[in-house]
Every structure is written in structure tokens, then in C-alpha cells.
Subunit: 232 residues, 2 copies
Amino acid sequence: MSLDATLQDARERVLQTAGPIFAEKGFRDTTVREICDRAQVNLASVNYYFRDKEGLYLEVVRRAHQGLLKQVPTPLWAPETPAEHKLTDFIRALLTRMLGDAGAPWQHSLMLRELLYPTHACRALVEDYIRPQFEVLQAILSELLPESTATAVRQQIVFSIVGQCLYYRVAPHVVRMLVGDADLANHFGVEPLVHHISQFTLAALGASGQGLPAGVPISAPKSRTRRHSSPN
Amino acid sequence: MSLDATLQDARERVLQTAGPIFAEKGFRDTTVREICDRAQVNLASVNYYFRDKEGLYLEVVRRAHQGLLKQVPTPLWAPETPAEHKLTDFIRALLTRMLGDAGAPWQHSLMLRELLYPTHACRALVEDYIRPQFEVLQAILSELLPESTATAVRQQIVFSIVGQCLYYRVAPHVVRMLVGDADLANHFGVEPLVHHISQFTLAALGASGQGLPAGVPISAPKSRTRRHSSPN
DNA sequence: CATGGTATCAAACAAGCGTTTGAATGGCCA
DNA sequence: TGGCCATTCAAACGCTTGTTTGATACCATG
């Protein structure tokens, strides 16, 4: 009930401290002692505020998941926006979040852990966060594909796009070891990858669907509406 | 005694038991007690044969890695084989190993863990197992692309192909939750995915992927026996 | 038989973990 | 002021973990 209550409450300090640690080390390798040390609260605080370690973890995941939703709202395009443009925007948003120069790197690490080795928090994550984006992308593809295209084929294409982007999140070490340093800097940053994956995907769609213009403008209209609501 | 000679040694039983457990639970969540219970050896065996738990883990990773190399040798095609054909074969091999109806599911789980959260065993894995395949795929692409194509672009395409396949290994839960059960069975098995990813990729490359004969079996692995060095 | 090295075993050890406890603290209202 | 409540704290508890120990069985060799 005071002004911001973020750095005041011990509860809040624990939550904010625990997030990055859980993301980096996973649930099991994270100790409540480390959390409490770094948050400068007493060892018993986790059990006092969150009942037990798992209670804290679930709350952290819930927060991270809310934070992602707030930070990356469903993008809105003007109705006359060409679908190729929307696709490129979508891919840019995806890659930006994955390689995260933005303010949310650890939330995605946590999410990736949940997807690979799901806990109780996984289902809500998929339904609330992943499925909406899955359907946005499907809608974009509907504009680029013949009407007759089967749903399953559209979904295969969605996974092909997401898979291309996710790879750089899953296996950054591999990329770093396989390509030279110079190429890494010049051709594997966010924008070069946006260019490649967009071109690659549009070319694939153009050949399988009806003939589409190959050239796609790679303009960068960052239409980020970043709302800031109360942390509740 | 003559059949395998593997079920005799306690050391061997520990190794074979530990593999799947490490793959499923990770290093930290696996207890030596569970391993020894399931292997029906004494609790002290891990320390007796492998010095400590990490010693056992490294040996397990080394074995898994060797097993993968043996099981999936570099495929050899007849020189006149069209590159599109090779690409489809390569993708089929990749997906088969990923979704593994074959005999090696847990080795890949272990590998995936290493890639995401690397330990000391990661570098060797990349150099010995991943890089060779990376270069095979690059060679195939060289046949499909103009001579003038930059190396970095070829590598981006390699990652686009691998990313598409890897997705079904990384996020099988997500796929299962997002698509209907009927579609899952009909369109997301190995062979439908081979078809989709091949077509998608070839279309992107500008080649006509249509009319390729499907159903080419993966070449049988060459049997190569290798005795491992004495425990020291 | 005696011997020495190898393998197996039950038992215990030491450390780290999550969690609990009970007292101390400090603000708020009657 | 005195009592109530939420919060903080140091300390300890109980359990699981990886690891070590010392005794015991096995077995080929002199």
C-alpha cells in the first residue's frame, strides 16, 4: 500500500531474485539458501511467504508468463498490411524475444525449460502464451496459402517457421562452435536471421502455393505498444 | 556368456542402466542409489568403478556418443544420386533419429541435454558427432545452390533444415497440445514430416521438389566392433 | 595350504538440502 | 501503556545425497 512496494517487500525481493536463478539452474539445482542470500532476506522467508520451494517456483513461472504476455502483446496490423509484411514482422518479434536484446532474457529460459521438461506449470503456459501466437501465425499463413490448404499443412508450416527461429535459442553453443567468429557476428544476429528466415519461408510458400512475388520489403516498423499495468 | 558378455560385469550393468536414467532425469536428479538398485549392484559400485558420480556420467555420455556414431554412419550415396534425393534421405535420417522408433531414443535425449545445458562433455559431442553431419548437409546444399552462394548463407539454410526437424524433438508436448489427435497421428509421424520438410526446403531453394520417389530406406550401418580401453 | 589381489557387501559418514521452530522485533490500535 | 499481529531472525531438525570404510567371499597362483 506504499508507493511502489517492489524493493520494499521481502516477498517481492525473493520473487525478483528467484526468477533468473531458476531460469539459469533449473528447479532442482537452485537452493533456497542462494535465493535468500542474494535477496538479503532470512532463510525462512521462502516458506513463510510461499509455503515451500515449489510454491515459490510456481509463482515465479506465473509471473514470468504474465510478464511475457504484457511485454509482447498480440501485434495489430493495419488491415491493408500485406501478409508477407506481417510474416516478416512476426518472425522479427519471435527472434527478438528468443535472442532477447530486450528486457526479458530469463523469462524465456524458464519457458524453454518448462517446454522441454514440463512441470505442472506447462499446460497454462502453452494455452495462454503459445496457442494465441500459434493462431496468429496460422492466420497470417491463411492469407498466403490457397484456400484449399489443409489445416494440418498450415500447422506443419507454422512449426517449420517456429523451429527455424527456436533453433538459435536451443543450440546457440552449437552455432557458435560451427560457424566462424566473423560470420557469427555478420550473419547470425537478429536482423540477418530475420532476413534469411523470411526469405526462406516466403520462397517455400511461393513455390508451393500460387505464384507470389518473391521480393519482400524488409522494413522495420517497430510497432511496439508497451503497456505497463500494475504488478498484481 | 557367449551371447553378450555385457550382462555379466557389474560395471557394464551400471553403465547400461545409468544411460536411460541420466537421459530422462538429468545429472542432478539422478541418484546413484536408483542406478545401483536397478542394476542390481551394490551401492559402492559406482565409486569403485568410476571414482564418482560424475565419472560415471562422463563415461555414459562417451558411450552414448560412440553408439550414435556407430548407429548412424555417414550415409553413402551412389555418385549419380540427385541432390534432392540425398536431401530427402538426410532429413529422413534426422527425423528418424529424433523421433526415434529406432533403438536409440535415450542417447538423443542425453545429447539434447548436453546441447542445452552443456557440461564438459559438450565440445567433443559437437566436434565428433554434429560437425561431420553439418558438413555433409552443407555439401548436399552446395549441389543445390549456385556456386556463388556465400558460405554463411549455406549455413543459415543448414540451420533452417535442422531447426525444422529438431522442433519435434524439443517441443513434442507443445505439438501434442496444439494439434488435434487425428492430425497428430496422420500428419506428424516421421514419414509425413519427411515429406513436408523436404518439400518445404526444396521449394525454398527454388528447386522443384515434386515427383521425387519417396520410400528410400536408410542405408544399414556398418558393424564396427571396438573394444574400449581398460578402466584406469 | 597359504597368499595376494579383485570384487562385493552392509553399514556408516559427512555435507547439503528444504523445512520447522520459538523467540525477538516493531508498528498499530484500544 | 499494554496487548495483538505480522514479520524477521538464528538455530536446529530430519532427510537425502554422494562417498568412504572395513569386513568378507572369491579365486588363481606359489
